[in-house]
Subunit: 466 residues, 2 copies
């Protein structure tokens, strides 16, 4: 049987994972990983720590150097190679070697798209100025860190108050830099968490000296030499600063896919089935560029998180590399669990926000409960706030948010299996979670919140018109 | 309609919870709580902390003084009253007032047994000597603490290396007392955890200066005045000591129940149905004296843990106090989750141990995996060991053990919903748990362990005779 050739396009997280898995499944295959940048296989989630100065060198972020990866995984790695076109029906890839510009055509049997996502650069004057940094790729962070190490940076303005914006705010504060976050009226993390618990985030950031400017940025002002001067907001204010970080979200890199005839989904990311196969029979997709199913309501969403990248990569690669025996591997979807810890405050969310649940057609309500993290004799014990969203009629759990210190975020993991199994607040209330004063309180905040929600549901059941 | 009278017998944890709930459900009922001791409603789980000197006074353990409880909950409390007999078919209680010995007969419509459990006192010479303390009731701890505060206690011997034995070992070490634990060959926590992870417990205890004597105690030697001298072991050794703590397990207090014609189950505790009703129509049961269903295999077990006490109390009381409208409240059972933290080491278990699973008829295997608790940049990150027990044929998860520092124990809670829903290691492997380096690693030790177990199951599926 002829050796199959598998091309993987994109080398940050999903790409290397897919390449390694494909080579594992079919050790005879010729697996080639293409990456236009210099680096592959790095831990993007540790980049704020690197920016803060917590690592000596950017190499500490890299899991495998290309040569190492080739040896360890039995894969060919081509960095500094940009894939310019995929021609799936002709089994061809058009590749440009960036070192000398040479373009070549190569034959492949199968293609795995792992082209990831890029910073969403806001459309405003001055975003290209010196001193303005997107925060996405390793190169972005290398440039930023060099600037911070080299020059005296006194004040940084961060555009965007999502996960990355908050993590970068902490990283820069650790270096003693004054930080302002500019985020329009919705407030910090407004794409992740509803209003009820948001004040805790605002307070924590302010306590650590971060200025919150709940205004929309409209332009970046520069001097005559084109150097950054200030951020102008919709209130006409000028926030003078030495660096500006663009933490304004990301968009999937779908150009290559659409040019190849690969269909996108409603979310704007690449559509695929549960086997991670696109509409084209020899093209699979994984990582930040793909769509996944939100298991709670079946919606197709783009969820650019590292664990999703690794899991979709594994499924895509196994199905691409296998030769048709048995049932394909499936990726069933996600319940959208994520966490961040900033200045000691842990924020974790899972499932649907209230508005998402309403949009999905649920008649739902929310409830907020606070409790301690451990028994009263444990000195580390701290307050934890939980917010649950549930369906009124059935008590079905739809989402949860947890904020606090001391193990708040990891509690969200208990909700994951319940959400995946379409469980209710009654199921959650009944869980026999561990109790030991140095570890946890007699009743956990999760089961307390579930009890409160269950009361609401039972009341509604008895009083249907209420 | 005539006012109903409800008697609750036993005042530590389940009793007060049941009394309060009964009064809530039927505010017109005359609810009377009987307790032979002086105290009700105290936190037994915080007692090691009290013994260590972490609380000024035993009153810090008490949630409600009797008079307070009466006012807050609308319940009559009779401390220092011993119930000598229940005559359910005649709706009578025989009660002795311990202050003056007077015996009275009282009419009640309904009875809730919450008589709890008592120390299992080993049958050996000298257990009644001065300086030998059971560790169960608040009075036991008050006496022990008084001794420790009053006299110079240099060396303590703890008989029994279960949860309580370990917690008391830490409490006494905090006071600077030399501690030896005497536990026969199975080793520490041998009723809770299988052999694989036990060495971590032994090592941690030894690192903190606790001497482990894996021998069976055979007698307590006293001097001519009947004062404690030493513990004699089956190897003929004498361990000289100033105090001996009996942490040798507990047995349910069933005498009152059996004398009343209430049936016991196989476990030796009081049998009941899911509504917590015994074989007698007007007698309910809750807390450490009752049986509960182990949901994994349907076995009836006695599980004397505080959260079980509170949950069974609530169900028993609601069903006892209600007047026949609607379906009774149900207690579906437990998956036996518990945790302890000793000298910083967290140990948590859930579900069936290997031998329990084999005894229950499962063809099962186990797997041990270790991983870090957080991302590599988090300074608190520590090693966590997980052991899973699963069914070979189906991959059904049967049990789990977790040992480590830094949030090890709380991870067991993620297994609780999976075990309750009869989920598999495939379900566990698929969970999209949170990832953020300061909070958790890219792949959690739980999903890593589940992946390893899933491989084993898949291999077996493909190679049935293997």
């Amino acid at each position: 049987m002829q050796q199959q050739r598998i091309a993987i396009i994109g080398g940050v997280a999903a790409g290397p994972a897919a390449a390694a898995e494909a080579a594992r499944v079919d050790p005879n295959a010729d697996v080639v990983l293409f990456e236009q940048g210099e680096h592959i296989s790095y831990s993007a989630c540790e980049m704020p720590h690197y920016a803060a100065g917590g690592m000596a060198n950017h190499r500490d972020l890299i899991l495998f150097e290309p040569a190492e990866f080739e040896r360890a995984k039995g894969v060919t790695v081509r960095t500094r190679h940009r894939v310019e076109a995929i021609l799936p029906d002709r089994n061809r890839l058009v590749v440009r070697r960036l070192t000398d510009g040479e373009v070549s055509h190569e034959r492949f049997d199968k293609f795995i798209l792992a082209t990831g996502a890029r910073s969403r650069i806001p459309e405003m004057r001055g975003v290209g100025a010196d001193g303005v940094y997107p925060v996405r790729r390793l190169d972005d962070l290398i440039h930023l860190r060099a600037k911070l190490d080299r020059e005296e940076v006194k004040h940084a303005v961060i555009l965007g108050g999502g996960y990355i914006g908050l993590e970068m705010a902490e990283a820069l504060r650790r270096r003693g830099i004054r930080v302002s976050i500019v985020e329009p009226a919705g407030g910090l993390m407004n794409r992740h968490i509803d209003d009820a618990l948001r004040p805790f985030i605002h307070t924590r950031l302010r306590e650590h000296g971060v200025a919150l400017r709940l205004e929309a940025p409209v332009a970046i002002e520069t001097d005559r030499q084109g150097r950054l001067k200030a951020v102008r907001t919709d209130r006409g204010e000028l926030i003078y600063s030495d660096v500006v970080l663009l933490c304004t979200g990301i968009v999937p890199n779908t150009d290559l896919a659409t040019a190849a005839g690969v269909r996108l989904g409603e979310s704007g990311a690449v559509a695929c089935d549960e086997s991670m196969r696109t509409n084209l029979p020899n093209v699979w997709v994984c990582g930040d560029v793909c769509e996944v199913t939100r298991m709670i309501d079946g919606a197709k969403i783009n969820l650019p998180l590292s664990p999703v990248a690794f899991r979709t990569a594994r499924v895509a690669a196994r199905n691409a590399a296998r030769k048709g025996r048995g049932a394909p591997e499936r990726f069933h979807g996600v319940v959208v669990a994520s966490a961040v810890k900033v200045f000691g405050l842990e924020v974790a969310t899972v499932g649907l926000r209230m508005q998402e649940a309403i949009d999905a057609g649920f008649d739902c309500f929310d409830i907020v409960v606070k409790h301690v993290s451990r028994g009263s004799s444990a000195p580390e014990s701290a307050e934890i706030h939980v917010r649950l969203v549930a369906e009124h009629r059935t008590g079905r759990l739809l989402g949860g948010e947890i904020i606090g210190n001391d193990g708040a975020a990891m509690r969200v993991n208990v909700l994951v299996p319940i959400l995946r199994q379409r469980g209710t607040v009654f199921d959650l209330m009944d869980l026999d979670l561990v109790y030991n004063p140095p570890v946890s309180p007699a009743r956990d905040v999760l089961t307390l919140a579930a009890s409160a929600a269950a009361k609401e549901v039972s009341h509604r059941m008895r009083n249907p018109r209420w």
